[in-house]
Symmetry: C2
């Protein structure tokens, strides 16, 4: 062992002890007769002192040669510091060095290894091993480990069994695009990397495993939107002999446990709202409920007046921004411009100031009197001093726009505190969604999700209205987990495939093994999956997942550090029975 202690543990109780430390030179201050070095490792920083008076001359000279990020080993005595630093665990002491051993020199790093670095995203990714030396990244990775261990421990204690499912599976055209792997031993055939272990966990339920979980990598070959990764990690779970209520309770328990253990925060029972309610109230199926600003529908109180814009709209809907009546004309115009940006796409916005004296001042005073506006304020739950913003147009589109405005206002008003946690369940998702492009229904969750029995009567006549036993856990405006009660009946599964446009042959070819399994006694079962990357980032109080992944890929799916993907040998291709087709 190159050290007797790490750089985070020495304090005044060690004074006069001989110690051996090792680590990186964080910085070095040379005062001529005295040299101080901050020695860093994963656990902290310890100050070293080399003193012309007290340090051997050769050691002192060697200390002068130390550069940033040199790896050194020192022996010395713990002494009391003259100027103590109360913000550091080791701030009361320093090490008077007697021996210095340079374990490895370092060339100058391409960016500063500090909490706030001068390195941009690209250079940090190329030298990710240096980036990981920085506290924000290092601590994110340590935090991720804590979350994963917390999940494993909690679920194991509830008798869940972690089962590793295979990575080399079968490609299915349904859903997102698969990554595929040519098989050398099975000429002309390919494995696929799993988008999720969905069918395997269902087979484990058929196999009687009863309670399964796995923290597992999944793969999707999608064009990468911001903050998406081609490989990502799921906390994948499944239970047998359960109903939706049981699953919500177990995984609400898990999330509450994590919040308590990792953040010290006690959260009450999660609110449960339906998908329909979420869409109507927040314009969004993953509402951020750290703040209120619920939608107020204004059709009944804003239409049938002389304002043709509202009269012709399918939906007139507003929100009350608390304490914003004092917005200046300029601030309001900026917000109107914001909703008119192509990314949001509103054609305009009406506002109403709810003055402190109980009167209203709006941009549509020409059409609406105080009595009308009072009704608007009631519908949007606005109080004196608030500002109401109103959008109108086609219902779905307008809700989406108002949802965007709601989030933007919350950001501007500082209502999205990353250290406040507001989880909830959204339930009763539609089973199917219509896809304009392919002119058919798609499974909103996936083809294994069970419809609500009471809605089965609509399945032929109005399939779009059938609700599913499907649920999402939402945290601070992010879907962090989602799942469903599955179909466990062969005939119903078969009918579902046909509803989704599978021919019987396609269904058999792709999922025959699952339907076959259902014949041998499949129990009722259901589950869910959490996105670990996102969950960890949110619990860590961050917007982006990238620093919670040790070696992330960029938006072109490249690992710029190792330079992958890359060309491979012709002989390698030949062995795999493929050739390039550029």
């Amino acid at each position: 062992m190159y050290r007797s202690h790490n750089n985070g543990e020495l304090n005044a109780t060690y004074i006069n002890k001989e110690v051996t430390l090792a680590g990186w030179v964080q910085k070095s201050r040379d005062k001529g007769f005295m040299i101080w070095v901050d020695l860093r490792d994963r656990y902290g920083i310890t100050q070293l002192i080399f003193d012309e008076q007290r340090t051997d001359k050769a050691v002192f000279e060697k200390a002068k040669s130390l550069g940033r990020e040199f790896v050194i080993q020192v022996k010395g005595t713990v002494i009391e510091r003259e100027s103590k630093n109360a913000t550091m665990a080791t701030g009361d002491i320093e090490i008077l060095v007697s021996e210095l051993n340079i374990l490895n020199a370092a060339i100058t790093p391409p960016f500063t290894i500090e909490d706030e670095t001068d390195g941009g995203e690209d250079i940090r990714m190329k030298y990710r091993y240096l980036d990981i030396r920085r506290n924000p990244v290092k601590n994110s990775l340590l935090f991720r480990h804590k979350v994963a261990m917390g999940v494993r421990k909690y679920l194991s204690d509830l008798d869940f069994c972690e089962v590793e499912t295979p990575y080399l599976i079968k490609s299915t055209p349904e859903g997102a695009r698969d990554f595929v792997v040519p098989s050398r031993m099975n000429q002309g055939q390919f494995y696929a990397l799993p988008q999720s272990p969905q069918t395997f966990k269902q087979l484990l339920m058929v196999g009687g495993m009863d309670k399964y979980f796995q923290i597992v990598k999944c793969f999707r070959d999608e064009d990468l939107r911001a903050d998406r990764q081609p490989e990502f990690t799921q906390i994948d779970c499944e239970m047998a002999f359960v109903e939706q209520e049981d699953i919500l309770n177990v995984f609400e328990g898990l999330t509450r446990h994590l919040l308590k253990e990792l953040k010290g925060i006690e959260v009450a029972q999660f609110p449960r709202i339906t998908y329909d309610y979420a869409m109507k109230t927040y314009g969004n199926d993953k509402p951020d409920i750290r703040f209120d600003m619920k939608f107020g529908e204004l059709n009944s109180v804003a239409q049938h007046k002389d304002f043709s814009v509202f009269n012709s709209a399918e939906l007139v809907v507003g929100i009350a921004a608390a304490n914003c009546a004092s917005f200046t004309r300029k601030e309001i115009d900026a917000l109107i411009d914001w909703v008119k940006r192509p990314q949001v796409g509103a054609s305009g916005m009406v506002y109403v100031k709810c003055e402190e004296d109980g009167t209203f001042k709006s941009s549509v005073d020409k059409f609406y009197d105080q009595e009308d506006l009072k009704k608007w304020s009631e519908a949007t739950n606005a109080k004196s001093g608030d500002m109401i913003f109103v959008l109108s147009g086609p219902a779905d589109k307008t809700r989406t726009q108002l949802s965007a405005l709601r989030m933007e206002l919350a950001t501007r008003l500082g209502l999205r505190n990353p250290e406040v946690f507001a989880p909830l369940w959204v339930v009763d998702f539609p089973l199917l969604e219509w896809d304009e492009e392919s002119g058919r229904y798609h499974a909103m969750h996936h083809p294994f999700t069970s419809p609500k029995p009471e809605d089965m009567k609509l399945i032929e006549s109005e399939p779009g209205k059938v609700r599913a036993n499907a649920y999402d856990m939402v945290l601070n405006g992010n879907e962090i987990g989602g799942g469903s009660i599955r179909i466990h009946d062969k005939d119903l599964q078969s009918r579902m495939f046909s509803l989704l446009g599978f021919s019987p042959e396609q269904a058999e070819d792709q999922f025959g093994f699952l339907m076959n399994a259902f014949q041998f006694g499949a129990p009722p079962h259901g589950g869910l999956a959490f996105g670990l990357d996102r969950l960890v980032a949110i619990l860590g109080g961050q917007e982006t997942i990238r620093d919670f992944i040790a070696f992330p890929k960029n938006n072109s799916g490249r690992d710029v550090m190792i330079d992958a993907p890359s060309a491979i040998d012709a002989t390698q291709l030949k062995e795999l029975y493929i050739k390039l087709d550029l």
Copy 2:
């Protein structure tokens, strides 16, 4: 929830309680007026009773229809059993059923769902979800989970951080064959699936993570020998600022902990033997030391007599089989035939009976007198009543043959008790091994392994004699883990690549990122990896890893349950810029 209790927890304390149970019909005995059903789930079996006298007629009739593996839910009362079964946790009670709900019917399974099944390997794999219902497989998976949790907990408590490394990495021609993944977004380029996270864990050490572990899938596209899988799981570990001794201590501690926690077995400090000693003493670098039978070299006492076979041999070497002097001529001949099989390849075998009276009787009495044979018995540590078997020929080949015989004898003599655990370390492996085929040296462990500093003087003159800081943990004749202290110096790494036949360009192209990283202050580091599949199987007292893997592949790398790999669409190929080349 479909149940109030599981099928393993009810006992006499529950008598008269109303319960709801769910599970599979293990078997049903219909006595006409009474029907007993064994209801099974992951947790156990509970006996149900339907009684013509006491059970509702409709329920009784329904019970008659129950077949094997039907999934049912019952309500009923816990009553005392008339004929108790002390071997079952629930053997004191049964459930007098009042309600019966068939959750799912089942067709007849293709093999019996019993501990001893009538299903062969192929059919069990095709219907693996049924196989998992059997105790031996189910318990193996539960045991695997316990081992994995035990490892995670132990290492986390020692401040190891589990870090997920990427699965989509870069192909390197060194080592085994990679599985590759064509990239759609990077035309004509391929990712590779990792054979191990070796370079990433080293970069984490450069990044200051200090102590890393990961339980991680790895991939090798090799022709599958028996009991190998194309995807397998490693416990992958790395530490910084350590020497070999530190690593041996930590992972010996882990293994000792697992043996204690999971098997209740206390093991003393592991013996440490060198590679050279292992090869000379056991003919094998992974010796099974549950039994002795060390090699005795007989050159000095068996050569220079009139037996030309021995005189012309590079090595004459024997082992003493304890208490085998009583072997019949037939038994001896069978063993001679065994060593002469092509798989072993000996040309013949000499034997010496060490009679109870202290005399010797050998197959070469013509050439050797009692005095000679006494020396043989001393060299092989044979006692009265033992039998000495002697092979001769080229040294390496003969040792391998005698090693095979040693294992065979141990098997025949019942010395390989799977519930006895004899771990050890084999250290000081050679750095390089000569590969006849390519006419050059290969890295015995991998190209990142550091040579012993004291052997560096031989690196140009006699590279084959240079020893590495490399070590294996061996358990019951299996290598369950191996690792090394790594090179952390750019120049030495570069020299190593050149020794292994890399041109500077190839080294830069494939491992430039690692050598580059070493320039920025790489700490001394090292680690090891355990094969989890094998470790779990051995701890579980089994020879084969297959039942410790939920969904294994067969020897052609196929998953016969889901029928993977399989053909993929032409459009999918097109998108990936590849075509078939059959």
